[in-house]
């Protein structure tokens, strides 16, 4: 299924005869091989969840953050090369801080998504830069309510009800489509996201993983924050119970 771009894939400034930029597609492969990242827009906010694959028993729990706050009301979850992700997060933080400094109000999520997308796209235009090897899901809550955006390594950015990146994205998207998001509150949303991530986690290929959940909703005072530990535990328990039920069939 993957086509070899022989000759047309050496530089990000080269098109193939059928109009594809292979380097950008290859960057997308880096995202596809990473742990699953899920974001959903509930009626009162956004929930972001990451399946953090633990590569070594030596890693301290809670380290290697994949969900970052880029402003008081906005969060960014990263899939793909973590180091590339840090650049995007840093840029997003700087854009959001600068906007507030100039305009006196928190940066609208739409505007921030636009800037991040432009920045990611920028790195696909010059041969001396390489595209970012990561996709991000940006969730925030501003005057227009909660909004969810996904930005791919190509610089493509769309607004979503629900989005997923990484290994289990196909299965995750199927699960998200089953949910009635417009009726879900964030409290319920956390449980659903946990279930999805536990569900798409491949026990055979990757052993251990850590679930990282964050939200920005009415309950968190429209601030982006890590979901409180007790709620995370509840969500995990519900997710594991759901898994066992599935296995029991």
């Amino acid at each position: 299924m993957s086509s070899i771009g022989t000759g047309y894939d050496l530089s990000v400034t080269t098109f193939s005869p059928d109009g594809r930029v292979f380097q950008v597609e290859y960057a997308g492969k880096a995202v596809d091989n990473s742990g699953t990242v899920v974001g959903i827009k509930c009626k009162d906010g956004i929930v972001l969840g990451v399946e953090k694959l633990v590569t070594s028993k030596m890693i301290l729990k809670g380290s290697n953050r994949r969900v970052h706050s880029v402003h008081r009301n906005t969060g960014l979850a990263v899939a793909g090369l973590a180091a590339d992700g840090r650049q995007i997060v840093a840029r997003a933080k700087s854009e959001a801080a600068n906007y507030e400094k100039v305009y006196g109000e928190p940066m609208p999520v739409k505007e921030l998504a636009d800037r991040v997308a432009s920045y990611v796209h920028l790195c696909t235009l010059y041969w001396w830069l390489r595209p970012f090897g990561c996709g991000v899901i940006l969730g925030g809550y501003d005057r227009d309510g909660p909004q969810l955006y996904m930005i791919e390594p190509s610089g493509l950015s769309y607004k979503y009800f629900g989005a997923a990146l990484g290994k289990g994205r196909q299965a995750a998207k199927t699960e998200i489509e089953k949910l009635k998001l417009s009726e879900l509150t964030c409290r319920e949303g956390i449980v659903e996201v946990a279930k999805i991530i536990y569900g798409v986690h491949d026990e055979a290929k990757d052993k251990a993983f850590e679930l990282e959940l964050s939200w920005v909703c009415d309950e968190s005072n429209r601030q982006h924050e890590k979901v409180p530990d007790d709620l995370v535990e509840q969500a995990k328990a519900a997710a594991q119970a759901a898994l066992e039920e599935m296995d029991a069939d």
């Binding site: 953050r65 402003h71 008081r72 933080k93 801080a97 400094k101 924050e225 890590k226």
Partner: protein
């Protein structure tokens, strides 16, 4: 006040710094809209800070509902006297600082000592560029340290002088309130005792400082967080015999 340029031109007209701004340009010489004294002291549960809600435009008491005490992060209060626009700028710097501190989300947050240290650097560096932020800042707070909950109170002014004390006062408070605080402050006062002491100082300042107004705000910072109380007035007493019938002993029409 000695803020105006001396008329005799004895010092070369202020600080014409050629380097950064270009020749013939000037930096901040004197403040325009100013707040008067801030008083603060440590008490049993934390730190209490108080000031009036006035901002003067020279000798005019122009703005009467100005909040000169603000919370900083989770653990501190900042109070300022001096140029109000510079205070607003400082609040913006602190907002950026506390935002990036918050976004780390690592379980730590900036305490009063750290904020005081940061402000000292800012104030001193601005003074060295001959472009001071024309304020006296009071920084108070409570944060858990190695020895348990530690109260902190310090001040830093426009030339970068900074220190830590059990009681602080700025502006006229230095002359009128500090003697009272030195005499009557003691360790571990209750909130009510602290408020009484602060009100005693505020009253003296109200009577004697011409740029103070009778509308005050008290704020406290404890382990629970910052509370800034709504403004209120103190009762003053003017019923002295000397004030009755003021023209009694006057000679002539004047």
């Amino acid at each position: 006040m000695a803020w105006q340029q001396p008329m005799d031109g004895s010092h070369a007209s202020g600080s014409k710094v050629a380097a950064a701004d270009g020749p013939g340009t000037q930096r901040t010489q004197y403040p325009y809209v100013t707040g008067t004294s801030v008083i603060a002291l440590k008490y049993k549960d934390g730190v209490i800070m108080a000031c009036d809600t006035g901002a003067s435009y020279g000798s005019t008491l122009r703005y009467k509902s100005v909040e000169r005490i603000k919370a900083v992060g989770k653990h501190s209060l900042i109070g300022a006297s001096g140029e109000f626009s510079d205070f607003q700028e400082i609040l913006r710097y602190l907002d950026e600082l506390t935002l990036s501190d918050h976004m780390w989300d690592d379980g730590n947050s900036l305490g009063p000592k750290e904020v005081h240290s940061y402000l000292t650097r800012v104030m001193y560096n601005r003074r060295n560029k001959f472009d001071p932020l024309w304020n006296s800042l009071v920084l108070g707070g409570v944060k858990k340290g190695p020895k348990g909950e530690e109260k902190y109170l310090g001040m830093v002014n426009m030339i970068g002088t900074h220190f830590e004390e059990n009681h602080i006062a700025t502006g006229f408070g230095n002359h009128l309130a500090i003697p009272i605080l030195r005499a009557e402050w003691c360790e571990d006062m209750t909130f009510e005792e602290a408020v009484k002491l602060v009100e005693k100082c505020l009253l003296v300042l109200l009577y004697r400082d011409r740029s103070s107004i009778n509308k005050f705000q008290i704020a406290k910072i404890t382990t629970e967080g910052a509370t800034i109380y709504p403004p209120y007035s103190l009762k003053t007493h003017w019923g002295f015999a000397a004030f009755e019938n003021p023209s009694k002993g006057a000679v002539g029409s004047w």
